[in-house]
Symmetry: none
Subunit: 237 residues, 2 copies
């Protein structure tokens, strides 16, 4: 759980969206939620939609105005799809996440989401240093509030994870020699069952090799395939 | 709007989630929604939460089972957080998006989301070539269904936006239905040659499915594989 990223929801109309936003946050390791003048909170609907993230709701702070909500933050970013007369510098969630991942450990970032219907006012945006714009299809750009929180939280989580990610080992992989032995075995059996004739089916073996070469084969898989070939040989002897 | 990416929701309990998923899709330029045995649909709650994406709901197709939902798709990916005895190769939303952005223009991708409570069953996952895992914080990994659809649709939208070249058509690709027929044929032959016994070799067929599902199969390849099976059948009769 990071204490460095705060989600601020301004004047939210539907308590269900507050609960769903809390859930979205917690799935991505975020815990700090501040609500600016919510229409209805606490609320059974919020708790219901928070599901297992009711602790985020329980610790949410309710304040009267945006200035109070972000007072102790070093970087304040307002999420807004609307064009403004005086535009702030914009950034996308992935750029924001990159900033977050390199945030000094003593700095605190707030991401501010406006009301469902009309977003953030110009006066609210004036508390923000940048404007976050979530890419969306021109034909319909209206992300649900909690869905927007999910996308942004997800990007921030990934960016933080990327700094510590370890490569994961797969199951034991077959060597080129294992695979070559399998190809020889396959050709022998296909000849035995009269499926392969060297003179007429020139492309068959290369095609099959390409098929089985397309991805790493595991040792177990080669063993199964050769087991099948042996079973066929027993039947046709 | 892309016609190449289909969202499939299996056995969804809450119609609100169907509506919210439709909204999430439309914000990212997706239009094709297939519902497998939804608990309640159509529903006023779904329409309410779809907001301006009610056209996605209106055109949603309702089917009885997952096989039908994905029959004409070349790549089927199941979203699931649960660990399985026989793991499919996993990929993250960003990797999936990269695949989507280079999908041959004649191929169709389905992303399958399970029920809210229990996700996808093992039998449903067996229709999938890969498993999509959305990164999430270990302390709470339960993304809301529509939130998961939002994250995945967002990644796919970004990847398509970023791509420079038009996808090119490959050789004709086998559909899920083609591949399913091959699997049935394979199981019949393996039984016939005493390689497969349903009681004792529980993991054999899932393992073989995983092997052949790892990459797009071409129609020609499926024809060759089935030709081999037929040749074996002739020999052992």
């Amino acid at each position: 759980m990071t204490q460095q990223l705060r989600i601020v929801l301004v004047n939210t109309s539907h308590p269900g969206n507050i609960g769903a936003a809390a859930r979205a946050m917690k799935t991505m390791g975020l815990a700090e939620l501040v609500l600016v003048a919510p229409k209805s909170f606490p609320s059974a609907k919020a708790s219901e939609l928070a599901a297992g993230a009711d602790d985020v709701l329980y610790h949410a702070r309710v304040v009267d105005d945006l200035a109070t909500a972000v007072a102790d933050c070093q970087l304040v970013i307002g999420a807004s799809a609307r064009c403004r007369e005086i535009a702030l510098p914009t950034l996308a969630p992935r750029q924001l996440a990159a900033e977050f991942s390199t945030l000094p450990s003593n700095a605190r970032l707030a991401i501010v989401f406006g009301r469902e219907s009309t977003g953030l006012s110009n006066s609210e945006l004036s508390h923000c240093q940048r404007q976050l714009v979530i890419p969306s299809h021109p034909s319909y750009q209206s992300l649900n509030l909690a869905a927007a929180v999910q996308v942004v939280s997800y990007e921030c989580y990934l960016a933080r994870q990327a700094k510590v990610a370890e490569p994961v080992a797969s199951d034991e992989l077959a060597t080129a020699a294992d695979v070559a032995r399998f190809h020889t075995h396959l050709q022998r059996v296909l000849t035995r069952i009269n499926f392969y004739q060297p003179d007429t089916s020139k492309f068959l073996m290369p095609r099959l090799q390409r098929l089985f070469n397309r991805r790493y084969l595991e040792v177990t898989e080669v063993n199964i395939l050769r087991g099948i070939l042996t079973a066929v040989e027993k039947q046709v002897k």
